[in-house]
Symmetry: C2
Subunit: 138 residues, 2 copies
């Protein structure tokens, strides 16, 4: 059987800024300044559902969700963390971890499908990716 390498879905790539790789997942920052929004993409080819992961990797994924959620939660003004694995549009398994504020652009509804992304400015994006990238080597 040929070895199939992990390749990030081009739609995920186009809508995010790359942060780096955790033990299991590629960490992405959604390019939408309306919400502090990170995405974890387990780096195995062909994954669609959480149950496609082996139990050991599911535990790893959960710990990476917790790491990212913990980081988001300690940011100023964050009222709630939303975690979601949907994949109705992009099938490649990816987990959203989103910081929500009461009264934000989609509150109290979900962020998925809500309005139009507002891309970060270049300086803001660089600063945020720099901050998030501290998670990579912890």
């Amino acid at each position: 059987m040929a070895h199939v390498s992990f390749v990030l879905d081009p739609r995920l790539q186009a809508s995010t800024l790359a942060v780096g790789d955790l033990g299991l997942s590629r960490l992405l920052l959604m390019n939408d300044a309306r919400f502090p929004w990170l995405i974890l993409v387990p780096r195995h080819a062909g994954l669609v559902e959480i149950v496609d992961l082996e139990a050991r990797d599911r535990t790893l994924l959960m710990e990476e969700i917790a790491l990212v959620a913990h980081w988001l939660r300690q940011r100023a003004g964050v009222d709630k963390i939303n975690v979601g694995a949907l994949g109705n549009i992009v099938a490649q398994l990816h987990v959203h971890v989103v910081a929500r504020r009461i009264g934000d652009a989609a509150w109290p509804g979900p962020v998925w499908g809500a309005g139009t992304a507002r891309p970060y400015g270049e300086a803001e994006a660089r600063m945020l990716v720099g901050e998030v990238s501290r998670l990579i080597n912890t």
Copy 2:
């Protein structure tokens, strides 16, 4: 410190049918015939975020998500599983595991906040709860 018992949020109770208890979570069937939709509520008092769980319980929660997702996925006509922990309206930590079909009432958007629930008929509800309850003793 007084021991505080787990009490299911009354809004979750009102919108669901109780199935039973897994090792960590109470398992509920959302009373919405538009989507096969289960909810896991970890049975510790005071939980709001996934990171409020200890690492061991996070692993347990992930395995209960996988158990439920696996069961939903093998049902006829299911195209995608959606998993979400939002809590913007009901703060008590709960995880949605929803079977999606291409063209369903909210496709490809999220189910949360989409339209109005269509309650099950009594016989249908009893049958489904019976089927789901087989997950309890596995």
